[in-house]
């Protein structure tokens, strides 16, 4: 090789090196691309809803909300009475609870996704193009989901960090905001949602009435809790505000004919659905049918996480002996999916000889296809449905004594061939007790029990849930959870350790 060749080679090599570009060129989207294009932004909206279907915010949220309601027992972490969950969350003595910790992170992940959309989408008061409408709808839904998420969190944890922006490297921790201020933010978000949601996203996404229903729920909560009310607004005013919001959704939906089909694939996105998560086995995002299907009910693996307290079941049967909702809600006798044997738990097996047979399973989230053999299933998860709105309207009307209360509950009961029981006919207080129980009979396990049971304060919770269970006639310390009566423990969940360990602004 000649000397000149070497020199040329080295010059070329040096030139190559010195012209190197050190800027990064990743293969992912950036903020402007995501929120600058309606199609990608729609993907971001799906990201928000997908966040709700994550394991922590769906399966574990359901587990926490039900476990902390005082109506359930569980065989998770050992099919025995003294497993860690029964001793802890389910007996209303939450201590370092893993599921609520996971739920906490997952709910805040949803909030972060909402914050991304809210902070980056420019909404327009008067949208001119379909894209403008689409962006408004997406932003509105982000406000709605953020409000729903904070509402879920503050009802469980009370004072919580309030994030309204995305974190950055100089802003990674927030101290807690008082529940009162969190509620103020929830109301603001939900109101904006009612204005922005316009249906552009089409089927499968909540309409603005979902935000109205959420607002009604919030006002109902404020009505019965003076510590979080806005100054100068009375209880009755809140009931009226709740009514005003709920009534906007009235008539926008209708009850499906067959109650049981609500919890099957056949009635997804039905006329009764107000806020529903779109689940697809192909999207592989729901293990509800694995976690909540009773032992050996189907071929695939399943854990049967939730059992309803036997006395809660009895209360339902005693109130409505022939209620078709019972078959859609509980399961106590079924065929073993592989060997055909009949398996029985309470009440089919009335012995209550051991924990594992002493309580009926919650049947709503069960995968109904007994041959199903994947942990993921297709069944959508309904968060808000019309029957609940009707019960709310009934409760609100009773508080307002506007004369409409019996009408709404009658609509709900007529669907299952029932009529309001005498409790509804004996004055405001009895009606109140009846309607609070009606939430259970109609909606048990669907996510609101922990909140509804506490909404009217500790004493109401103690008298109508805790004591009723602890003192029920078939209570047995060998198979029944003894619910805590300690007011300092039963009303809220502690902020999770992972948050405390990493957040210097929270003690």
């Amino acid at each position: 090789m000649k000397k000149t060749s070497i020199i040329n080679l080295s010059i070329i090599a040096l030139m190559t090196i010195l012209s190197c570009d050190l800027d990064e060129d990743p293969i992912f989207l950036d903020e402007s691309t995501v929120y600058g294009n309606i199609e990608v932004a729609k993907g971001a909206l799906d990201g928000i809803y997908q966040g709700i279907t994550s394991y922590g915010s769906q399966e574990q949220r359901i587990f926490v909300q039900n476990g902390f309601s005082g109506l359930f027992a569980t065989g998770k972490n050992g099919n025995v009475l003294d497993n860690v969950n029964n001793l802890n969350l389910f007996s209303l003595k939450p201590t370092y609870d893993l599921d609520s910790e996971s739920m906490w992170g997952a709910m805040y992940a949803i909030i972060a996704r909402c914050n991304g959309a809210i902070n980056n989408i420019m909404t327009k008061e008067e949208p001119l193009t379909s894209d403008d409408s689409g962006f408004n709808d997406i932003a509105g839904q982000a406000y709605f989901v953020r409000a729903w998420s904070y509402f879920t969190l503050t009802r469980l944890f009370k004072d919580i960090p309030l994030w309204l922006t995305l974190p950055d490297n100089e802003n990674l921790a927030q101290s807690t905001t008082s529940s009162k201020n969190v509620y103020a933010q929830i109301i603001e978000d939900a109101k904006i949602a009612t204005m922005l949601i316009n249906g552009s996203m089409g089927a499968g996404y909540p309409k603005k009435f979902a935000a109205n229903m959420l607002l009604a729920k919030v006002y109902m909560t404020l009505a019965t809790n003076s510590s979080i009310r806005e100054d100068g607004v009375s209880e009755s005013q809140y009931w009226q505000m709740a009514y005003d919001e709920a009534i906007k959704a009235y008539g926008q939906y209708s009850l499906v004919t067959d109650y049981e089909t609500l919890f099957t694939d056949s009635n997804e996105n039905s006329s009764e659905s107000i806020f529903e998560l779109q689940i697809s086995q192909d999207a592989a995002n729901s293990q509800m049918g694995r976690n909540y299907t009773p032992f050996k009910y189907k071929v695939g693996n399943h854990f049967g996480w939730l059992r309803v307290h036997a006395d809660v079941y009895n209360s339902h049967v005693n109130t409505y002996p022939n209620d078709p909702r019972i078959n859609g809600t509980y399961l106590s006798e079924y065929e073993h999916a592989t060997n055909g044997n009949t398996l029985k738990v309470y009440p089919a097996n009335a012995t209550r000889s051991q924990f594992r047979n002493a309580h009926p399973y919650l049947f709503k989230f069960t995968e109904k296809d007994k041959q199903h053999n994947n942990q993921y299933n297709d069944q959508n998860v309904i968060i808000y449905r019309y029957a609940e709105l009707l019960i709310m309207l009934s409760e609100i009307s009773n508080e307002l004594q506007n004369g409409q209360q019996l009408g709404y509950i009658t609509e709900v009961l007529n669907r299952v061939g029932m009529t309001p029981h005498p409790g509804y006919l004996s004055g405001q207080d009895d009606f109140r007790n009846a309607i609070m129980n009606e939430y259970r009979f109609e909606l048990i396990g669907e996510g609101e029990d922990a909140h509804n049971n506490r909404r009217r304060g500790f004493d109401y919770f103690l008298n109508n849930t805790i004591s009723k269970h602890n003192n029920n006639s078939i209570f047995s310390s060998n198979v029944d959870i003894n619910l805590s009566t300690d007011p300092s423990r039963v009303m809220t969940l502690p902020i999770p350790l992972t948050e405390i360990n990493t957040n210097e602004l929270i003690d």
């Binding site: 070497i6 090599a13 972060a112 990674l172 697809s280 693996n301 993921y376 959508n380």
Partner: protein, 1083 residues
């Protein structure tokens, strides 16, 4: 002689005169000295001295100053030549009249001067000494000119052929190098740590450079698909670097040695030089070895009857009927209805059942040779290893060609290319939630040993995830190809000593890893078959341009310098894909299209980085005594934002070759004696790229839609940190190298202090932010340590050689600054101290070990274990029962120490309960050779570290949950009302749900291991024999381990690269020993 005495007397009398008015004490001393001096007079009085003068020139006729002229066999009689090469020396009459002339770089000469009074001598260059060069970063220097701290590792061919990976060569052989590997699982992940923890990020792996080309780190692997809770076993990122092809390894440790690697040198650098042929020596070598591997120890769990008794006792406590009827050695199951089975239960000891002998064999051949104009080295090998469970194996083949050729008088070509191909199957790596049915290792230990059901086929009929399921219905198959190649051109420029070098090379690694969960595994049953596919394509290349100047002026000034520009590109492309719900499970890993449900859409990850650097090193030696090295590197790295992109890393070092000083030479003790001091700054950017950018992508799963189909959801996946910048390590090192005459004793001693600031780490952040971590520069850490390396060769002759040695390294790491953390209450021994700290990552996703084990506190060592101190078991007579985790304690519970004496055990009672950092690591070796026989022993050890044996959380408590098996001691020593044990809690006590660690699972992790013993015999070959040489050897790896650790293996390889979890054994696999028999032949 009389003259000498006279001078001495005068000298001392003059002293007397000077001190005449001083004290009597001084007089007494002088008198004593006089007595001493006069006592020698009789000796000298009868002898005649001789004065010899002369001139010394080099082979070019130039005068040679500084030549040592010593009277043979004298201790202190010697002079050095002056600037003109002249000397004059007086030889006492009693000494031999022989002078020894020595000078570094020249052959030592002895001259008989009994008949001469003057001589003129020509010193000849010592070729052997000139060859003592040491490979350093981007070049080589004479050994005597080395100023940095480095360890050289060379191993015999027999050791190399036994070894599967480079880490095995390093373990125990270099001071300050700590190696963690799992001997039982061929090809599993390794960790090499040099001089402690430099970074809290987790990846403290050194930089590996093969023949001048940087390759990937040990931790490089495919990404986990993150589906389910099954952990993906770490695999070795250094596969493909064949120990047999390695000529030598240099471990660069201090800043003066590593700063030239700039932003990647902070964890130390391992320079690997592969073999080359020798001129005129054509050689063919072939070897074959076969080995057998077996587990070394097992957990002592309950056997049949013990287990049956345990379960019956639990049932009795729970008010249930007994589950088993025990009749002698037969156990019969009892059904729910109380019906006793008429068929005896099957009894298994799963550890005996599942852990097998693993047989392996290796074959290889190499050929080397050369002429005056070039040389070659070619090798090829095949390796077939079995693990200690039947579905673990590692097969590989490799090929290497090294060529060197002088293209003309001034131009040399070097070419290196190697190819490596492997196929492996791994056992399951352990689950992330701690449930017994989701982990193979946990399953083997804790699965019930009594099978009372009528089970014909254990895999098909037994419960999900029985131990056999993990053998027969699980696969973790990897296929890997790796190519490393380089080409170098060296051109001697017209100026003497000046050369230009162009070197380009790269490393291409392609890996495909597939994990299959069949229907009898937990994951597989849930999902109706599950297949996870991860791929990796790691392509890196470097283009280097160097200008070198290497010249000696006037024999006194030697310059060795390099100036270079390098461009380093690393493009990593990964993909993950997971599919479930299989139409048929017949094809396991082979046919993903048979799966109905895409659990994880095919996702590509690109991680590209470019580094543009200018570097230089200047090495100057004066008079073969004083050496100065200065180096610098300026790196520009793509992964930081433009304002933080460039870093400058300087170093300076001085060395003093004391052995060339007269006063040392007069001692006639040292062949080499060198003092070194070095300082430098090195960087680290060992984070993934794109950390400064916001990453919007597809979140884990798709989202359904109202049509029954799916939508693609987009979400922000990280919190960007545009302010990310370098980690910078500053290091100061003092060292001493020594080697006695006849090389009987040699060694080195180093003392160092290094400080790393702006630590990069993936810090945990409050999950209320919507995210769980962020890359940040956080904190400052220091390491201080000493290293000693000794080698003793008391006997060395043609027939017999004995050599032994050892190394020890003491290192203390301290977190010096955590300014980014707030000052908060931190409880130590019940007192809230105001400290800056943060916790490590939680261990499991489940309830069993759901808390972090480690805490990082300013002013303390890293990764301390934090939790509850315990003091035996709460006894029945204890009337002051505390409230533990908001539940009233009962007798038989573990007695957690109430540090603040408030009667309540809660998180404020946590304190520091252990330290995973060793006090020291050490290695020892013994080599014996007697004629054809040789024996080599290598020990390595770690002392003073604690290990959290997380497995004991369940195994060491008679929990009575899910009928898991437990340790025998947990049952027999369980506290009972009538047996007030103070070692183990009551039956039914569980750690499930506890909020923090207890010291009950912390153990001493110290160990000493005989990591290798090789006995070999070289058969003497006749001249006309078919073979030129024949060597037979027997070897044992990992034969004995002395440790108090009760787990499988004190070399903890769980969470190797996380940084936020240290010293935690969580589902760690068993340890194994290997016996090897091999033959090496030369043709």
């Amino acid at each position: 002689m009389f003259e000498l005495v006279r001078k001495n007397l005068l000298k001392h009398f003059s002293v007397k005169k000077y001190f005449i008015n001083d004290s009597i004490t001084i007089y007494m001393k002088i008198i004593l000295k006089l007595i001493l001096i006069f006592s020698f007079i009789p000796i000298f009085g009868f002898s005649q001295s001789k004065i010899v003068t002369g001139t010394i020139n080099d082979d070019m006729g130039l005068p040679l100053p500084g030549v040592n002229v010593i009277v043979k066999n004298s201790i202190k009689i010697g002079v050095t030549t002056n600037f003109d090469g002249n000397f004059s020396i007086t030889i006492p009459e009693s000494n031999e009249k022989i002078l020894v002339f020595s000078y570094v770089g020249f052959a030592t000469q002895e001259v008989d001067v009994s008949n001469k009074n003057s001589i003129n001598l020509i010193m000849l260059t010592d070729e052997t000494q000139l060859e003592e060069v040491v490979i350093v970063g981007y070049g080589s220097v004479l050994k005597k000119d080395v100023t940095g701290s480095l360890s050289t590792v060379t191993v015999s061919d027999n050791i190399a052929t036994q070894s599967n990976s480079i880490d095995q060569l390093l373990q125990g052989r270099a001071a300050g190098v700590q190696v963690i590997q799992n001997a039982a699982a061929p090809g599993s992940g390794i960790s090499v740590k040099i001089r402690g923890t430099n970074s809290l990020r987790g990846n403290n792996e050194p930089l590996y450079v093969i023949d001048g080309i940087i390759i990937s780190s040990a931790g490089e692997d495919v990404l986990p698909t993150a589906v389910g809770n099954s952990g993906q076993e770490s695999q070795n990122g250094l596969n493909g670097i064949n120990p047999r092809d390695i000529e030598s390894i240099q471990v660069l440790k201090d800043a003066s040695a590593t700063a030239i690697y700039g932003s990647r040198g902070a964890n130390g650098v391992i320079l690997i030089t592969t073999k080359k042929g020798k001129s005129g020596v054509n050689k063919i070598t072939a070897f074959v070895n076969t080995s057998v591997r077996a587990v070394t120890n097992k957990y002592n769990v309950l056997r049949g009857n013990g287990y049956a008794n345990y379960v019956n006792e639990i049932n009795e406590l729970n008010g249930d009927n007994p589950r088993y009827l025990i009749e002698g050695s037969n156990i019969f199951g009892i059904g729910d209805a109380g019906i006793v089975s008429d068929i005896p239960a099957q009894i298994y000891n799963w550890q005996d059942e599942l852990y097998q002998l693993g047989f392996s064999s290796k074959y290889g051949v190499s050929s080397s040779g050369g002429s005056d104009n070039g040389n070659y080295y070619i090798s090829a090998g095949f390796d077939d290893q079995e693990g200690i469970v039947s579905n673990s194996s590692f097969k590989s083949g490799d090929l290497r060609i090294n060529l060197n050729q002088n293209l003309n008088e001034n131009l040399k070509l070097e070419a290196r290319v190697s190819g490596f191909f492997s196929s492996s199957d791994f056992a399951e790596g352990g689950d992330l939630i701690g449930a017994s049915n989701q982990s193979f290792i946990r399953n083997v230990i804790a699965f019930r040993p009594v099978i009372a059901e009528e089970v014909e086929d254990l895999v098909e009929d037994l419960d999900l995830s029985n131990p056999f399921a993990w053998i027969n219905d699980f696969s973790d198959v990897s296929k890997e190809e790796r190519y490393i190649g380089s080409i170098g051109l060296k051109y001697q420029l017209p100026l003497k000593g000046l050369s230009y070098e162009f070197r380009a090379g790269g490393n291409l690694r392609v890996k495909d890893r597939r994990r299959w969960f069949g229907l009898t595994t937990f994951n597989g049953f849930n999902a109706n078959g599950q297949l996870n596919i991860s791929t990796l394509k790691s392509a890196s290349y470097q283009v280097n341009n160097f200008l070198r100047f290497n010249r000696t002026f006037n024999r006194k000034h030697r310059i060795n310098s390099v100036l270079g520009v390098t461009y380093d590109v690393r493009n990593i492309s990964s993909s993950i894909y997971a599919v479930e719900d299989f139409v048929t499970t017949q094809f396991t890993t082979e046919q993903p299209s048979l799966g109905n449900v895409i659990k994880r859409p095919l996702t590509f990850f690109k991680r590209d980085q470019q580094i543009l650097s200018i570097l230089g090193r200047f090495n100057y030696t004066f008079n073969n005594k004083y050496v100065l090295t200065a180096s610098f590197r300026r790196d520009g790295v793509s992964k930081f934002a433009e304002n933080n992109r460039y870093g400058f890393f300087p170093s300076f070092a001085l060395a003093w070759n004391l052995n060339n000083e007269m006063f040392i030479q007069n001692l006639n003790l040292f062949e080499a004696l060198k003092l070194r001091v070095g300082w430098g700054q090195i960087g680290n950017h060992g984070i993934g790229p794109y950390g400064t950018l916001s990453n919007y992508g597809v979140s884990n799963n798709l989202y359904g839609n109202s049509d029954g189909g799916t939508n693609v959801p987009i979400a922000l996946l990280n919190v960007a940190n545009p302010d990310l910048t370098w980690e910078t390590t500053e290091q100061l090192n003092f060292g001493l190298d020594f080697e006695t005459n006849n090389t009987t004793l040699s060694g080195s001693f180093d003392i160092y202090e290094k400080t790393t600031k702006d630590l990069l780490q993936n810090a945990n952040i409050p999950t209320s932010s919507g995210f769980s971590n962020i890359l940040v520069n956080q904190g400052q850490i220091s390491n201080k340590g000493i290293e000693l390396n000794l080698n003793i060769t008391p006997i060395s002759n043609n027939d017999f050689e004995l050599n032994f040695g050892g190394n020890i390294a003491i290192n203390k790491t301290e977190i010096q600054n955590l300014a980014s953390q707030p000052i908060q209450d931190f409880y130590i021994d019940g007192i809230a101290e105001q400290r800056r700290f943060y916790f490590g990552s939680r261990i499991s996703r489940g309830n069993i070990f759901k808390y972090p084990a480690n805490v990082f506190i300013e002013g303390e060592e890293t990764s301390l274990f934090y939790g509850f101190e315990t003091d035996g078991i709460i006894q029945a007579n204890n009337t002051d029962l505390p409230e533990i985790f908001e539940e009233a304690a009962v007798p038989g519970d573990v007695n957690i120490v109430d540090q603040n004496n408030d009667g309540i055990i809660d998180l404020t009672d946590r304190t520091i309960i252990g330290n995973p950092n060793p006090d020291f690591v050490y290695g020892m070796n013994l080599n014996l050779k007697f004629k054809g026989f040789s024996a080599n022993l290598l020990f390595n050890g770690v002392y003073g570290n604690d290990i959290v044996n997380g497995n004991l959380l369940q195994l060491d408590n008679a929990e009575g949950i899910s009928f898991n098996n437990i340790l025998k001691r947990a049952y027999t020593n369980a506290w009972r009302p009538d047996n007030a044990s103070n070692t183990h809690p009551r039956i039914g006590y569980t750690t499930n749900g506890q909020p923090a660690l207890t010291d009950r699972v912390i153990e001493d992790g110290s160990y000493l291991r005989l990591s290798n013993i090789t006995l070999s015999y070289d058969f003497r070959m006749k001249e006309n024999s078919v073979f030129e040489s024949l060597n037979f050897y027997l070897a044992g790896q990992n034969l004995f381990t002395w440790t108090q650790y009760s787990g499988y293996n004190p070399e903890v390889s769980s969470f190797l690269y996380t940084g936020l979890i240290n010293g935690v054994d969580w589902n760690g696999g068993p340890n194994a020993r290997t016996l090897i028999m091999g033959i090496t032949i030369g043709l």
